[in-house]
Each structure stands twice: as structure tokens, then as C-alpha cells.
């Protein structure tokens, strides 16, 4: 069964500090992993996906199959990064997404 765990419900950091959001998954096959973000009063939207290997808005995420993790990192957090972040695991057949419980990030000035 697919499962995604985000152990932190809330992360509070100061502007300019590094931020790391943890995501661990359980999946027997070859995973497709995503980070989605929801800013205040906006829709849930894709931030990045592991296969693209991009850095979006300064965020990066590395898939570690040995540790079954896909942690999201940003070296210097900005106030506009305050949002709800969800890690999601996609099925290979049709992008059925299993979401984690989410981590709220609060970047203080």
C-alpha cells in the first residue's frame, strides 16, 4: 500500500534561515514523487516533481530511495514561502496521488 508521512505539522523559521520539510514514503515499486503547495486563499498547486530535477522558487528536493525520503529544502526562506506544503506519491499507471498530511511553514520576519 502507498503511504506518505510528513512528520512535522508546523515549521516556524526566520526569514533567511534554511528550511527543510521532511517526507517519507512507503511504496514497493518505482516511485513518482511530488511537492504541492497551497498559499493562503489560493489553490493547491504543483511546486515540483522529482523527475524534472528542477529548482522552483529556490526549493529543491532529492529522492533518496534507500531512505525512502523526498525532503524539500530551501537554503534561505522568504516570507512569501509561508504556506501549506504537501508531499505526494504518484502511481506509475495513472498518476493516482497519495498525499501526506501536510506541513505548515511559517516564515517570520
Amino acid at each position: 500500500a502507498q503511504r506518505v508521512t510528513q512528520p512535522e505539522k508546523l515549521l516556524s523559521v526566520f526569514k533567511g534561515a534554511p528550511v527543510e520539510l521532511k517526507c517519507n514514503y512507503s511504496y514497493s515499486g518505482s516511485p513518482e514523487l511530488f511537492w504541492y503547495v497551497q498559499y493562503s486563499r489560493q489553490r493547491l498547486q504543483l511546486l515540483l516533481r522529482h523527475i524534472s530535477r528542477e529548482s522552483i522558487k529556490g526549493f529543491t528536493a532529492d529522492l533518496n530511495k534507500g531512505e525512502t525520503s523526498f525532503h524539500l529544502k530551501k537554503p534561505f526562506a522568504q516570507e512569501e514561502d509561508s504556506a501549506m506544503y504537501y508531499c505526494a506519491l504518484g502511481s506509475p499507471s495513472g498518476n493516482k496521488l497519495t498525499f501526506g498530511g501536510g506541513t505548515r511553514v511559517l516564515v517570520k520576519p
Binding site: 506518505v4 510528513q6 489553490r43 493547491l44 498547486q45 504543483l46 516533481r49 504537501y86 505526494a88 504518484g90 499507471s93 495513472g94 498518476n95 493516482k96 496521488l97 497519495t98 498525499f99 501526506g100 498530511g101 501536510g102
Partner: protein, 113 residues
């Protein structure tokens, strides 16, 4: 391009009543999803359509929930009868094809009293 549209945005009903939600996906998107997001949790997939056919409804409580996408465009999700535990945000999403990026609507917040 216009995004995924959902209505209503908010709905308050009493338990045992019926309710329906509507979703219009992005034009040209063949795949449509309905998710349930309970407060404090991540979205949970209820049903996935490919055009007007159901791809996955394994997590849909079929004794009370139903969904249709008759013409392969817009979709309706119905709950009959509603229970207190159905209080949640119901999200609709669409993608061009099954493995593409999903675009989410604003959601419908349902409160069951």
C-alpha cells in the same frame, strides 16, 4: 487559460440530507479527479475519470457517494445521505492525461450539522 471551476464554494446541510457538487475541468483535460480533504489531513482521492469512464473509485464510499461525468467534460459528485464525518473540503482536479500535472479547483467546503 481558465482554471478548474467548482460550485458551490460553501455548503451547510444537516445529516441525512443530500448534496451535490459540480466541477468543470480545464478545457481539453481528459482526466478528472475528486478528492476529499478532511481538516488537518491531506487530500484523499475519491474517484478518477478518464473522459467519461471511471479509472479508479476504490476509495469512494459507494453506499452514499456517487459521481458521474456523462459527457466527458464536467462532473458531479453527490452524497446521499450525508453523515457528520463527511464534513470536509471537496477538491476537483484535472489533467491533460493521466500522468500529467494535476490542476486543482478552489474546492467546496461542506459542513454537515
Amino acid at each position: 487559460e481558465a482554471g478548474v471551476a467548482q460550485s458551490p464554494r460553501y455548503k451547510i446541510i444537516e445529516k441525512r440530507q443530500s448534496v451535490a457538487f459540480w466541477c468543470n475541468p480545464i478545457s481539453g483535460h481528459a482526466t478528472l479527479y475528486w478528492y476529499q480533504q478532511i481538516l488537518g489531513q491531506g487530500p484523499k482521492l475519491l474517484i478518477q475519470f478518464q473522459n467519461n469512464g471511471v479509472v479508479d473509485d476504490s476509495q469512494l464510499p459507494k453506499d452514499r457517494f456517487s459521481a458521474e461525468r456523462l459527457k466527458g467534460v464536467d462532473s458531479t459528485l453527490k452524497i446521499q445521505p450525508a453523515k457528520l464525518e463527511d464534513s470536509a473540503v471537496y477538491l476537483c482536479a484535472s489533467s491533460f492525461a493521466g500522468a500529467d500535472e494535476q490542476f486543482f479547483g478552489p474546492g467546496t467546503r461542506l459542513t454537515v450539522l
